[in-house]
């Protein structure tokens, strides 16, 4: 069982995520992707040969290359999604601040 450390790590991360949700430090919808990630890690750690099988299906002769490709693309996609989200939040914040400023100006005018 040389995959035991990965199983332990995945389980610890899942427990950490759930306890964060219980303490209301993390929202349920945000946790979804991370729990999926951990489950994938658990599956791979428990059945390492599944990677070989998928690699041979895709015609990749060196299975670890598949793992690395998947990981790198997953990280790439996640960072892109986060960037998009930050941009969106920034725009919303600007809008909200502008509206607030206008409201304040109206209030000052009434005095």
């Amino acid at each position: 069982m040389n995959n035991l450390p990965f199983i332990v790590i995945a389980i610890i991360i899942i427990i950490y995520i759930i306890s964060s949700i219980r303490r209301e430090k993390l929202s349920v919808s945000v946790s979804f992707a991370w729990v999926l990630f951990c489950i994938a890690m658990l599956v791979l750690a428990c059945f390492p040969y599944s990677l070989d099988w998928v690699a041979s299906l895709l015609g990749i002769s060196y299975p670890p290359a598949l793992l690395l490709t998947i990981c790198v693309s997953a990280l790439f996609i996640m960072s892109f999604i986060q960037d998009k989200k930050i941009d969106e939040l920034e725009q919303k914040l600007t809008n909200t601040t502008e509206e607030l400023n206008i409201l304040r100006a109206k209030k000052n005018g009434k005095k």
């Binding site: 759930i18 949700i21 349920v28 979804f32 919303k92 809008n95």
Partner: protein, 240 residues
Amino acid sequence: MKARTIVVIPAHNEAETIETVISDIKKEIKTADILVINDCSTDRTEARIRCVKGCTYINNVHNMGYAMSVQTGIKYAKENNYDYVIQMDADGQHLSSEAKKCLDAAIEKNADIVLGSRFKKNTGYKSPFFRRAGTSLFESLIRIFCHKTIKDPLTGLQVLNRRVIEYYSESGAYPEYPDAGLIIEMLMKKYKIIEVPVKMKQRKNGTSMHDGFFSPVGYMIKQLYSCVIIFIKFVGRRYE
């Protein structure tokens, strides 16, 4: 003393129906105030609301979605000391006479949450396949987790009392889809939830947030996940 009631209607591009919905409510529930939350509609919804007298409205600064619009309304109700919130859709699906029935039930039976249920009695309401599948899936989930049968957990017609208004408006984790998961949470927190059989009209125009194929499937997966997580979140504190 009479209970102060407010009808909260989130609206996104509902120019065709919003006026009728509001005037129906005025006819049926005379004592209630009306609050429309205009969630950045791109059609003439705002102009239509402005035409109606005696109706408060909020224009969201940006498009916040259904749940956050509802929460805005609930927060407004808390600020202004309302005793009951009636949550209704702007598309004309929910009838105000049925909403009145739910409100009366809430007062009479002293319930925290009243759900207007399409499936409690056979009302002849036909819903698309995914909706039926989702309804029965979440019905059984609620039965497993909370040992209570809720026939229509995805209903949008709800009446909330003061206790629930306070709880929802303080909740930092108000969910993206305030239905099955939220019902599980409230049942586990020992709130009294009852169902009242109601008639609903079939949707005539506009699009539902659950139309298409990917949107309902994604919704079901997310909601299933959140039901399980919410159960885990509250299971240890059930008897606190």
